[in-house]
C-alpha cells in the first residue's frame, strides 16, 4: 500500500544541517503492522511525520496505493490526511476544553460528516473502546490509559486506511500500555494498516515487522515470526 523510495529530509538551523532521513526505502503492505525502532534522533519520528503528511521531505517519492503524495499542495495534503489517516501520539494530544465525545467527534466534523451520522459513528467507537461511561468527561478526569483509548478512538472513528502511532505507550505504565497495544492488535486484525514508532521491543513484539533505523538509514528489517505464525 505504501511505497517510499529514496526519501531525504534535512533539518536546517542557523548553524547546523542535520540529515534526519538519508535515502529511506520502505514498503508497507495493506493490513500490515510495522514497528519502527532505533535510538533517539535516528529519524524515526521524522519518517512517521512524513508518512502522515505532517512534514515535507526534500526529495524522494511517497506513493500511497497509487497516488504520489509528495507533489500535493497543502490543501490536498490536508484533505488526503483527514480521509485516509489516523494518529495516535505519545502524549495523547487530546483537547482539554472538549469532552471525550467532542474530542472523538472532531475529525468527523472536519470530514464534513452530517450530525446524525457523526453521533452514530462516535457512539459505536465509544462502545468498542469500552469508554461509554466516560463520554461526557474531560480528558483530565481520565487516567492515562483511558486517555490513550480516547485518542485511539479518535484516530479510528474516520475508519482510516492507515493508523500512525508515535510511541503510543510512552506515557503509560506497563499494564495500561499492554491494554493499548492489544487494542492496536485487534485493530490490525480487522484490516487496518498500522505504522508505529517505539522504543520498546516489548511493544514491537506485537507487530508483524520491525524496522531498525540509524542516522536516517534502514539498517535492518526483521519479520516477527511469532506474530506472523499467530496470524496464520
Amino acid at each position: 500500500m505504501i511505497r517510499i523510495e529514496n526519501l531525504e529530509k534535512v533539518y536546517k538551523t542557523e548553524e547546523v544541517e542535520t540529515t534526519a532521513l538519508n535515502g529511506i526505502n520502505l514498503h508497507v503492505k495493506e493490513g500490515e503492522f510495522v514497528s519502527i525502532m532505533g535510538p533517539s534522533g535516528c529519524g524515526k519520528s521524522t519518517l512517521l511525520n512524513v508518512m502522515g503528511l505532517l512534514d515535507k521531505p526534500e526529495s524522494g517519492s511517497y506513493k500511497f496505493i497509487d497516488t504520489e503524495l509528495l507533489t500535493l499542495n497543502d490543501r490536498e495534503r490536508s484533505n488526503f490526511r483527514k480521509r485516509n489517516m489516523g494518529f495516535v501520539f505519545q502524549n495523547f494530544n487530546l483537547i482539554d476544553e472538549l469532552t471525550v465525545f467532542e474530542n472523538i467527534e472532531l475529525p468527523l466534523i472536519y470530514n464534513k460528516i452530517p450530525t446524525a451520522e457523526r453521533k452514530k459513528l462516535v457512539n459505536e467507537i465509544i462502545e468498542r473502546m469500552n469508554i461509554v461511561n466516560r463520554s461526557g468527561h474531560f480528558p483530565q478526569q481520565l487516567s492515562g490509559g483511558q486517555q490513550q483509548r480516547v485518542a485511539v478512538a479518535r484516530a479510528l472513528v474516520t475508519k482510516p486506511k492507515l493508523v500512525l502511532a508515535d510511541e503510543p505507550t510512552g506515557n503509560l505504565d506497563s499494564s495500561h500500555g499492554n491494554e493499548v497495544m492489544e487494542l492496536l492488535c485487534e485493530l490490525n486484525e480487522t484490516g487496518t494498516t498500522i505504522v508505529m514508532v517505539t522504543h520498546s521491543s516489548h511493544d514491537a513484539s506485537f507487530s508483524n515487522r520491525i524496522i531498525n533505523l540509524k542516522d536516517g538509514h534502514v539498517i535492518s528489517e526483521k519479520i516477527n515470526k511469532s506474530r506472523n505464525e499467530e496470524l496464520i
Binding site: G52, L54, D55, N79, N93, E97, L106, P107, Y110
Partner: protein
Amino acid sequence: MRNLWKNKGFSLINIGGLAIGLASCMILLLYVVYEFGYDKQYKNYKSTYIAYTNMKANGKTFSWAWTPGLLSQELKENVTGVSNSARSSYPISLLIGNGENKLKNKGMFVDPAYLKIFDFDFIDGTSDNILQNINTVILTKSLAKKLFGNHSSINKIVKLDNLEPLKVEAVIDDIPQNSSLTFDYLMPWKLYEKRETWTKKQGWGSNFCLTVVQLQNSNTLAQVNTSIKDLFHRMDKDQENELFLHPLSKWHLYGDFENGKSVGGKISQLKIFLLLAICILLIACVNFMNLSTSRSEKRAKEVGVRKAIGSSRKSLISQFILESTLLSFIGTVVAFILLEISLPYFNNLLNINLIIQYNDWRYWLTLICLILFTGLIAGSYPAFYLSSFEPVKVLKGFSIKAGSAFSVRKVLVVFQFVFASCLIVCTSVIYQQLNYIKNKPLGYNSNGLVQLSAEGNLKNLQKINLLRERLVKAGAVTNVSTLSMSLSNGGNNTSGISWPGKNPNTSVLFNNRAIGYDFVETIGAKMVEGRSISKQFEKDSNSVIFNEAGIKAMGMKNPIGKKIKWDTGENVIVGVMKDFVIDNPFQKVEPMILYSAFKDNVSVILLKLNPSANVTASLSKIDEIVKEINPDYPIDREFVNQSFEQKFENEKLLGTLSNWFGGFAIFISCLGLLGLALFMAEQRKKEISIRKVLGASTGNILTLLNKDFIKLVAIANVIAFPLAYVIINQWLSAFEYRVAISFLPFSLAIVISVLIAILTVSIQSIKVAKANPIDALKYE
C-alpha cells in the same frame, strides 16, 4: 531591563501603545488647559466681572453682555462693593494707517478705567493718565510693528478711517490667544461718542456697550447681584430688563444662559475632551495590563524561581511596578517626541497655538504624576496577578488555566471596545448632524453671493448706486443690494414694535435690519405675500416687511396694508418674506422686521455674481471697480457661504477631534487585541496543532480563533449602544434642528469594530494556523 530587551516585539507594542495613548492624552490635556486658561492672564481676573442684561421676550429670556452706556458710571458711583467699572465697545474692524501703510484691524473704544481693570503688559508708556485725550490710541506690539516697522511708535500719529489723527500713547504686548478680549488697538470712549453721536443720547433701554466691573471682594458677588438686579427699573420705570454680573473667568466657557441663569456652554465640550483624554489613557493602560499578563506564562517560571529562593510577594510586586513605571517612562519619552512632531499639525487643525511649557513646574509635576499614575495602574494587575503564583505549581510543569486571569483580560478588551464603538457612533452622528444643518435650506441662495463691507465712500447711497450701475454694466453681477448687518451675523433687535391687538404685557423681540432695493432678489429669497422694498415706490421709507416668523409672533391675519408702530413712528406692512437663516443655523428663525435703508445704515453691500460669467473674472472686475470708487480702503469682501461655514467651527472641531482621537483609541485597542490574540494563539498552539492534524483547514482554525474575539466585540457593542445613544442624544438636544438618530451609526460601529477585530486577530492567528503542526506537538 533585560526583560524588555529580550521581548523586543512585545516591548515595542507595549511602549508604542502607551506612547500613543500618552501623547493623545497630553495633547488633549494641553488643549483643555489652554481653554481653561481663557481670560485668566489678568492679575485681577478673579474679581472682574462682565455685566449681563436679561431680557424677557418671545416667551423666553435672552441674556446678553450688552448694557446701556449709562451703567458703568452708576455702578462705580452708587453700588457698594464695586471698586471699578469701565465701558468698552465690541471690537470693530476699522482702517488704521501710518501714511500710506493702511491696515484693517480690530479696534475697541474703552474708558480709561478699562486699563486699570486689565493689567495689560505695557512695553512703552504706562497705564496712568492714558486715553484721556480724545485723539489718542494704544497699539499692540504686532500692530505697532506692522505700522512702524522697528521704529518707535510712541507719540507718532496714526490715522483712523482716513479721518481721525490719533497719537500713539503706549504700546502693549499682544493679547494672548486664549483671551476673550480681541483687539489690535484701543481708543478712548470719547472718540466713540464723537463718531457715533447717537450713543450720547441713549437712555436705560438701549444696550450697546460692554461693561466690565471690578468688585472689591469676589465674595460679595451674590450680594452685589441682588442689589443690582432691578437697577434698570429703578433708573427708568419703563425698563423691565434685569442686570447681573458674570465672572470674567467664566465668560468663555460658561457662555450659555437659560432663563437668565448660566447653564454652561463650551465647558461641556471641554468635559468631553477631558473624558476622552482619560479614557484614552485608560485604554492604553488596559493594553499594558493585557499584554503584560499575556506574557505571564513565560514569566511564571521566573516568579516561581524568585519565590523559591526567598523573594517575598512584596518585593515581587514592587519589581513589577518598577518595571511598568520604567516602561511608562520610556513611553512618555516617546510620547514627547510624538507630541512635538504632531503639535504643529494639531495647532494648524484647531487654529490655535498650543506650546509645551517646559519652564513651568506645574507642567512637570503633571507629567510626573501622569507617569506614576500610568505605571501604577498599568502595572498593578500584572504585578498582583503574577506575584500570586504559587512557586511549587509553577515550577512543576506550569500551565495557566484558561479561567480567571483570562476572563479579566476579556473584560478589559470589552471595555476597550465599548469605548471604541461609542466613539464611532458619536462621531458619525456628529458628522450626520453637521451635514444635516449644512444641507438644511437657508431660505436664500448663498451661492455666488458676495458680501462687500461698506466703508468710506461705499457708505454713501449715491456711490452704492454708482457701484451697482457699473458692476451690472460690466456683467460681473446681476443684482446688488445692501444690508445693515453682515448676512451671516447676529445683530440689532428691538422689542419696541406694537400692533393692533398686541398684549401689552408680552414683549416680542424682532431682529431688525435695514435693506436696500432688490434685497430679496439679490439673496435669492422668496416673498410669501406682498412685495419687497423697491425703487418704484417713492414712499417706501415708511414700508416694512416681516418674515413669516414675525407675522406668526404677532398673530396677524392678512398682514398686507396693516399698520404697526415702531418706537414713535408708524409703518405699513407691504410684504411677508419667507423665513431665512441669518444668525444661528442650529436654531429656529427668529421674528424679523426689515425696512428701507436710509442714510448710513448700510454695513455690507451684497453682490450676486453673474452666473454666466467666470467667477475669477467677475471678482477681479469687482475689485477694480470698487477700488476706483473707494480708493482709500483695502477691498474687504467674502463669499457668504464661506463666512457661513465658520458657524460650524465648533461642531467641526468636535467632529475632527473625536475622529482623530477616536482613531487613536481604536488603534491602541487594536494593539491590545493583538496582544491578546498573541497570547491566545500561544496558549492554544497545541490545540490548534491537534486540530490541524485531525484535518482542520486554515479557514477552520481562523474561524475558531476569531469566534471568541467577535463574541467579545459583539458584547462590547451591546454595552456601547445604549451608552452612545444617551451621550449623543444629550449632545443633540442642544440643537433645535437635529438629525434623527438612525440605525446607520450603530451598524457602522458594528461593522467597523468587528472588521477591525477580525483583521487584528487574523494577523496573528494566520501565522499560527499556517504553522506546521509538528513544531508544537514535537516537544511535549
